[in-house]
């Protein structure tokens, strides 16, 4: 164990980080960075949930992949590539809605969401809230110009959003809202859903921030203000700052998921 890690996290913090059981939902551009960093940190276990297989078009952003692995399940290829590190890597090649995936992520100390779809984000948060599992979501968006009058890239960036049990949720922070989910559903129904543009550098930057948030939560170096729950990254002006939606949001309460409503209340 290197001294530099001990100095940063402290002995107690490092022990806590090493004891963490983690889950990463999505083993694509952001998820592969998350899994890699968790394994290098030496957390006790990483559950990798992704139903998809690696395609040629993914290789430019799924770290540790290469063309020889095209056709392999993404979750399994990450496990294979990181097998010599100490963390126990457990791939689940299935949807996050599958019973195995739900059961696995609910046994974790922290879950990372690295998915493209707003509806899936909603489901992951719901499953996490049911079991009081902190969730850190990573996402990026690039909006290209639609015509010659617009710049080639209108916006580029992303966000890291931390949802703590009984604290402000994705809905409280207006990270999720009905319009997003309805629009996504309509686009799918119409076949008009555009492929999300991704770039490995921004994925890596946002994933690193998400892992740093985890260290702040569990190793306690985040300071008195705690972890910033909604961090926004703008790649065009190279800034990362608290999202303006945080203004006026009560971070310690949630009207959508109350503690009394957690767990399996339906029999």
């Amino acid at each position: 164990m290197s001294d530099s890690r001990l100095a940063f996290l402290g002995a107690a913090g490092l022990a806590k980080i090493k004891s963490l059981r983690t889950a990463v939902v999505g083993a694509g551009g952001s998820g592969s960075h998350l899994v890699q960093q968790l394994a290098h940190l030496g957390v006790v276990s990483v559950i990798i949930i992704d139903p998809d297989w690696l395609e040629r078009s993914n290789v430019n952003r799924v770290v540790m992949s290469h063309y020889g692995l095209v056709g392999q399940p993404k979750a399994e290829l990450l496990q294979w590539r990181l097998r010599r590190l100490r963390s126990r890597l457990e791939p689940i090649v299935d949807s996050v809605e599958s019973p195995d995936a739900i059961a696995a992520l609910q046994q974790c100390d922290v879950c990372f969401g690295a998915v493209d779809h707003w509806g899936t984000r909603h489901l992951i948060e719901y499953f996490c809230r049911m079991a009081f599992v902190p969730l850190i979501d990573v996402g990026m968006q690039i909006t290209p110009g639609r015509n010659a009058d617009e710049p080639p890239i209108v916006s580029a960036g992303g966000q890291v959003v931390t949802s703590l049990p009984c604290g402000a949720c994705f809905w409280c922070m207006e990270f999720l809202h009905d319009d997003l989910i309805t629009r996504e559903r309509t686009e799918y129904a119409d076949g008009a859903r555009a492929l999300q543009q991704q770039v490995v550098s921004i994925n890596g930057l946002l994933a690193s921030q998400a892992i740093t948030n985890m260290l702040g939560l569990f190793a306690g170096f985040a300071g008195a203000g705690g972890v910033t729950r909604y961090i926004s990254y703008n790649a065009l002006d190279q800034t990362m700052r608290p999202h303006p939606n945080l203004l006026g949001v009560g971070l310690d309460t949630c009207s959508h998921y109350r503690a009394e409503g957690a767990g399996w209340a339906v029999r």
């Binding site: 059961a103 100390d109 049911m130 079991a131 009081f132 049990p165």
Partner: protein
């Protein structure tokens, strides 16, 4: 088995249970708990905490418990009405991992195990806290199973 308790709920329980004792007895409370999901019977979550009222403590040397069991039964019924089970909660005033005393285990066997038979779909058990850690036991199939307590950020 694992019991997830939100950090702020754990702090609230400790503050309450560390109040001065009643009739020389450790303070008690009841926690409502549920299984995390229908897919997951290995994780339970603590959703509410209620302190035993001051008049709920009894002084009977030969009794296996130091509290009025009718109060506990009423709380168990209230919990069942919202599809939750109950854990009896108390605190041992020290740091480090707490453990159930022989008297605690007698209470667990003689009170909690029978209650758990009423509805086995609802988790029933006991939670013991120290000033910084916790341990729990879940009544399951007529025996007590050790449960790891995780205090989660929040």
């Amino acid at each position: 088995m694992r019991l997830n308790v939100i950090g702020r709920m754990a702090r609230h329980m400790r503050e309450d249970l560390l109040l001065s004792p009643i009739a020389g007895e450790e303070r008690l409370g009841v926690a409502f708990v549920r299984y995390a999901s229908s897919y997951n019977r290995s994780v339970v979550v603590l959703t509410e905490y209620r302190a035993l009222p001051n008049d709920g403590y009894v002084e009977l040397v030969s009794a296996p418990v130091s509290f009025d069991v009718r109060w506990f039964m009423a709380e168990a019924e209230r919990a069942a009405s919202v599809n939750a089970g109950v854990f009896l909660v108390h605190l041992h005033d020290h740091y480090g991992m707490p453990w159930f005393s022989p008297i605690d285990m007698r209470t667990n066997r003689e009170v909690l195990l029978p209650i758990s038979c009423v509805d086995h779909t609802l988790p029933t058990g006991a939670l013991i806290l120290s000033r910084d850690r916790g341990a729990a036991a879940l009544a399951q199939a007529g025996r007590l199973v050790a449960v790891n307590v995780a205090e989660v950020p929040g």
